[in-house]
């Protein structure tokens, strides 16, 4: 990811900031300029809840080169407590620990560190709540 894009996405990737339509109340993540529900163009920033449940998941056995050291790892679609859905890796989780309905918390982790001369990239992942 190029540095300007990474910098622009810091609020959503670091702090889970979504956009709430001031007209109809629909919450978007990632934030959007135009509401997908009513077409409204005014959004306010909202912090999304950090707790949610796994809606569906898959295990990656053949990852892109930069994630090679982490395989196998789980990627899940998580539904947060307010109904917003996001896709992310599940950190520190052996594949058999993640099931549909597993409770998770959204945490802050390093997403990419290669190549080693580039900017480190951080963002959200899920963690199984024990």
């Amino acid at each position: 990811m190029i540095t300007p894009r990474y910098h622009r996405e810091i609020p959503q990737r670091y702090r889970l900031e979504g956009g709430k339509c001031t007209q109809c109340g629909e919450v978007h993540f990632p934030p959007r300029a135009v509401c997908r529900k009513c077409g409204g163009r005014e959004m306010e920033t909202v912090d999304l809840p950090r707790r949610g449940k796994v809606l569906t998941h898959t295990t990656i056995w053949i990852p892109p080169a930069q994630f090679e050291s982490q395989k196998p790892y789980v990627v899940a679609v998580v539904e947060l407590e307010n109904g917003v859905r996001l896709t992310c890796m599940v950190a520190d989780a052996p594949p058999d620990e993640v099931k549909i309905g597993t409770e998770v918390e959204i945490i802050f982790r390093k997403l990419q560190s290669d190549p080693r001369w580039e900017v480190l990239q951080y963002g959200y992942k899920a963690k199984v709540v024990g």
């Binding site: 802050f108 982790r109 480190l120």
Partner: protein, 349 residues
Amino acid sequence: MIGIVGYGSYVPRYRIKADDIANQWGADAESFKKGLLLEEKTVPGPDEDTITISVAAGRDALKRAGIDPKEIGSCYIGSESHPYAVKPSGTIVIEALGIGPEVHVADFEFACKAGTEAMYVAYSHVKSGEMKYALGIGADTSQGAPGDALEYTASAGGSAFIMGKEKVAAEILHTYSYTSDTPDFWRREGEFYPRHAGRFTGEPAYFEHVLSSARGILELSGLKPEDFRFAVFHMPNGKFPLRAGKALGFKKEQLEQGWVVNLMGNTYSGSSPTGLASCLDVAKPGDLMLITSFGSGAGSDSFILRATDRLPEIQGLAPKVRDQLADRRIHLDYGKYVAYRGKIRMNEI
């Protein structure tokens, strides 16, 4: 009253047993475990570093403090494993925690005592009236060369402390520092692993500074070892802090709660701060606590704290240190451990 308003600790889920390191290098596991008083150590996941550990600990400190992150006027992170050579860890940590941008940020480095440095400067800012709240963090993903004695202990974790004048949960009564040029452990620019001067790191370095700092603060305060509920001394291994505590006149019961090294290893800048957090997890109002850090090079910082009536109200708001140490551990074999720690040379991507 000035002191800790909120605190939080982070312990990674991965571990490696001392037996597995000893077996890899043909060493006598029992003699290492007996010599170091250590069973296993924490290992950071491949997506963890000082920054992610600081964010996790900082978030729990904010939960316990119950304050608006925007009220925090400074963020200091002490570590000897900052991910960037040039770019402060604190810049990323404040963004993730919702602090700033009106905030003073700096990274500190002083071997294993960088964490208490961060705490001391944060405390001093509040004491001077410069700001309402200040955040000090000690976190590390420390390195030990393969096969070196350090590899059995160098581990990962950290703790964060928000200092303030309001909502104080543990009042800081006294501080004291003791520093000299004692080259017992170092890492030159560009070197991957640190070097140490073997046994020289004991008497002239660790014990000279820890004992002098602890004796100094006891004299300053007029307090005696028996006045304290808990005492924490930097934990480069299991033996040193117990020997230091005994030499000062502390009893085993006063040292046990903060002695987390046997299950965690030496978290460098996070070591004595995490020992303190473990004591804060169970302390009762009025309890006195002593913490003395040690950083090679060399120096020690000491703090005397007293728990307030607010402490029991916030203890349960975030995970406790000993619960994290016991919680769902994943033990790695040596091969997975060196891969996670980046000790294997891979092809460039």
